[in-house]
């Protein structure tokens, strides 16, 4: 334990201003006071990322690099009532509040006992359509739980009974939007995003009333003519159909009252002929005032993207030293293979580097944004591009440990051939795609000060990538492509423990402490597994 203490001491400058850490979220006698989200207690995991920072780092140390070999199964829960149309894959990060765990798959919600896996209630939404690819989870405020449905609804359930309280349409199914993000509760706002890549619609982010679901503010990813960013589009029509979906949950800095969201690819997705320009604010990391939705700054990881490389990966917030000064930082390992560290007050870029080797950029401009090579845009005869459409990173969450100062990302280096299928002057939809492929996968630990890879653990095979969790126990928990949940030494990358779950890890692991016992919970396919120390 001395080693852990030393790590924590060394990490002190990286930890945000300490707060009086509550020991329990249940102190209020049921429900969840949104103010608790500012400093989540260790017996909870009350938001998609565990807290507002997106770090997916836990201060718990009962499970650590010295004893993790003794980690063993506490319980396993298999989805009841059959799976959803996507095969029952749990891609939601579960929430834990007052000893109860809540999670989703498309159209379904579960409440189970976080100590035993015992089912308390389930809720099934009757769907009117939409793509049932996955659902990332729920949000909780007071005695209400919120989740999005593939048919474009935000649904509120009573936390205790699982009964529906209300639903509000948040997008238009006929326009081929769908909804899959985990809503984020910020004060008296429910922040909701939208999904859908099929027919050239504009993306947006909204805030809604927790009591009624009524719209509070709406931020459009693409500008209107004359607005800032419109100069990066050829005309109003391209802008209005320019895409930029908000697929994942935002992060939030309470001191700045600013939320941070990554936006998706421009549309048409692959054939970008009719949308010359950078196509703002698609493929961007954007800072918005949480109460008004007004933009504070933006940074664009993939100007004029034509490869479906949504820049939606979690914008992770932490404080750290850059150029000898202590700064409020934001980092993203983007789907395009590049890692960025920004000043989250201003958007100024401090670090731009590749976390896997790529072949699509000519260099980096003065703002720190990669400059796309036009020759590596999709071509009629094909262009060999790395990464492939799946990207160097995708939606599975990364992690940042203030104890090690390392940013962890389950990465893929991949090639494919991108083709233009629609060579007309006005392609729509996708207008092309990538085909073929070769890939290798690895867990990368990045030094946020330099962007350099401190250590890399290459998986033996490529494949599905799970999300990550790091802890003050000097551990990183990751899914590998062979259905293992693996615990690695967070400082060195050495694998210390594993359990084969029979299916790849399909979400990001979480941890919480109940009755002086630390639980580690992860989803794999249609099962939720909970591990504890058996000592």
């Amino acid at each position: 334990m001395k080693f852990i203490s030393a790590l924590l001491m060394a990490a002190l400058p990286l930890i945000p201003a300490p707060a009086a850490e509550p020991v329990s979220a249940s102190a209020g006698g049921g429900g969840l006071d949104p103010s608790v989200l500012l400093h989540p207690p260790v017996d909870s995991w009350p938001t998609y990322n565990g807290d507002y920072s997106g770090r997916r780092f836990s201060s718990l140390t009962k499970i650590n690099d010295h004893n993790v070999q003794s980690l063993s199964l506490a319980w396993m829960y298999q989805l009841s009532g059959g799976g959803d149309p996507s095969g029952g894959r749990i891609s939601a990060t579960p929430l834990v509040v007052n000893g109860v765990m809540y999670f989703t798959v498309p159209d379904r919600v579960w409440a189970i006992d976080a100590r035993t896996g015992h089912e308390l209630w389930t809720y099934t939404w009757t769907s009117k359509g939409g793509i049932h690819l996955g659902n990332r989870g729920a949000g909780i405020s007071g005695n209400s739980l919120y989740f999005e449905t593939p048919d474009c609804n935000l649904v509120s359930l009573n936390l205790n009974s699982g009964k529906k309280q209300w639903n509000q349409a948040i997008c238009d199914l006929d326009q081929m939007y769908y909804a899959s993000a985990a809503p984020v509760v910020i004060k008296n706002h429910i922040i909701t995003g939208v999904s859908g890549d099929d027919l050239d619609r504009p993306g947006y982010l909204e805030a809604r009333d927790p009591a009624t679901g009524e719209l509070q503010w709406h931020w459009s990813v693409v500008p209107k003519p004359g607005e800032p960013g419109s100069e990066t589009w050829p005309n109003a029509d391209a802008m209005a159909h320019g895409g930029g979906m908000t697929w994942l949950s935002c992060t939030y800095d309470p001191d700045l009252n600013t939320l941070f969201i990554g936006t998706g690819n421009p549309q048409p997705v692959v054939a970008g002929k009719a949308r010359p320009g950078a196509n703002l604010f698609t493929e961007s990391i954007v800072a918005l005032n949480a109460d008004t939705g007004k933009m504070v700054w933006y940074f664009q990881p993939s100007p004029h993207d034509t490869h479906d490389w949504d820049a939606i990966q979690t914008p992770v917030l932490f404080d750290g030293d850059i150029d000898g000064k202590h700064r409020k930082l934001l980092a993203q390992a983007s789907r395009n293979g590049w890692f960025f560290v920004l000043d989250r007050e201003t958007g100024k870029d401090y670090v731009t580097s590749q976390f896997v080797k790529t072949n699509w950029a000519k260099g980096v401009d003065a703002k720190g944004e990669p400059i796309p090579n036009p020759a590596k845009e999709p071509q009629i005869a094909g262009a060999l591009v790395s990464p492939n459409q799946g990207g160097a990173a995708n939606w599975p969450p990364p992690s940042f440990s203030p104890a090690t100062g390392l940013f962890y990302i389950n990465a893929t280096r991949a090639f494919s051939i991108y083709y233009i299928f629609d060579d007309s002057d006005k392609p729509e939809g996708w207008g092309g795609n990538d085909q073929g492929g070769w890939a290798e996968s690895m867990l990368q630990a990045l030094d946020y000060r330099t962007g350099k890879v401190r250590w890399s653990h290459k998986w033996e095979t490529p494949g599905i990538r799970g999300g990550l969790l790091s802890t003050a126990g000097n551990l990183v928990f990751a899914g590998d492509p062979s259905s293992n949940l693996v615990a690695l030494n967070a400082t060195t990358g050495e694998p210390l423990w594993h359990a084969n779950l029979g299916s790849s890890v399909t979400n990001g692991a979480i941890t919480y402490e109940l009755d002086d016992r630390q639980y580690l919970v992860v989803g794999a396919g249609d099962k939720m597994f909970a591990f504890v120390m058996n000592q």
Binding site: P85, S86, S127, K128, G129, G130, I131, H132, L133, P150, D151, D172, L173, D174, Q175, M176, Y178, D198, L199, D200, D237, V269, K357, N359, A375, Q379, I380, A381, G382, A383, L384, S386, F415, I417, Y419, I420, F421, D422, D423, S424, K426, E428, G429, W430, G432, N433, Q435, G436, G437, W438, W459, E460, T461, D480, P481, S482, N484, V486, P495, H498
Partner: protein
């Protein structure tokens, strides 16, 4: 080409000034579809692509009650479209300077079997020369427009590789025998003899660049893949070589030449050597230019 695809070409000709009645144009389309039907070559449109494709999650896009396109009604609707709409809304209904994009039209997307299109036209559209259609014609037009929407999606029938044969066969030959080092393992009179008659250009290109993964649409391509082999040596001196079955950080398993299955826990005393028969192709991924790829495919396409 299919009747639908010939129809699109004839529509284009009409928009460029071709003269004739609807009946005459329909007759021309019928003649072309009958005498110049679809071929099976990759690169050319594939007949019945929509019905032969395996359904995917992406087919869930939109509402459950979205309009199911009746192809015959859509064909009739196309004729109406050509006569009444094409001048302003374009050959693919994607709009022009004179008329709105109907594929992206929210009104069309909300429409079901003419439920929105009918009332809209009844108000008098276009201005000064209102279209007057029967209810059946409105339904047919609706089927045609929804067909255009469906065809625009990534699951639509036009999402296929176009002409990729842009390379220089001579330079491809030079690459094959030179920096590509292809000739060190392959021969155009041996394993690659008549390769162009086995694979269409688009498939061949994928086979050249990614031979380790199954090229789409060709079962034989999967069957001809060479397996990764592995040699496992233990501290006791045992050494086994065979086809890799499964490997991760903790275990490795294989099948030896006799078919015997072997499984090992990995550890300090266990040495594992993987042999990837496609390692040279992987190295080339960082070395190829796109021109190299296009040239070598053009060269191999000469071996019919």
């Amino acid at each position: 080409m299919t009747r639908e695809q010939w129809g699109a070409i004839v529509s284009n000709m009409i928009s460029r000034g071709a003269k004739g009645s609807d009946e005459e144009f329909a007759e021309v389309v019928d003649y072309l579809a009958k005498n110049l039907p679809p071929t099976n070559k990759v690169g050319a449109p594939v007949a019945n692509a929509k019905t032969q494709r395996r359904p995917s999650l992406l087919d869930q896009a939109g509402a459950n009650d979205k309009q199911i396109v009746d192809e015959d009604a859509a064909a009739r609707g196309r004729t109406i479209y050509i006569a009444q709409c094409i001048t302003c809304h374009g050959t693919r209904a994607r709009g022009s300077e004179r008329g709105a994009d109907l594929v992206r039209s929210v009104l069309v997307l909300h429409d079901r079997y003419g439920s929105a299109i009918g009332p809209f036209l009844a108000k008098g559209h276009p201005e000064g020369k209102s279209v007057t259609l029967t209810q059946n014609q409105i339904v047919d037009l609706s089927h045609f427009l929804h067909q255009q929407v469906g065809d625009t999606l990534r699951t639509g029938p036009y999402n296929h590789v176009l002409n990729i044969l842009v390379g220089d066969p001579k330079e491809g030959k030079a690459f094959f025998n030179g920096p590509g080092k292809c000739s060190q393992c392959h021969s155009t009179s041996g394993d690659l003899a008549h390769i162009a008659s086995k694979y269409d250009p688009a498939v061949l290109q994928l086979k050249v660049v990614f031979p380790q993964t199954a090229a789409f649409g060709r079962r034989s391509a999967t069957n001809s893949r060479k397996p990764v082999t592995v040699t496992v040596s233990t501290a006791s001196g045992e050494s086994v070589t065979g086809v890799l079955d499964r490997i991760d950080d903790f275990n490795v398993s294989l099948q030896d030449e006799s078919g015997q299955y072997h499984s090992f826990e990995r550890g300090p005393g266990v040495k594992v050597e993987k042999h990837d028969p496609y390692a040279t192709h992987v190295e080339l991924l960082d070395e190829y230019t796109d021109k190299d790829i296009h040239d070598v495919v053009a060269y191999l396409e000469t071996f019919k």
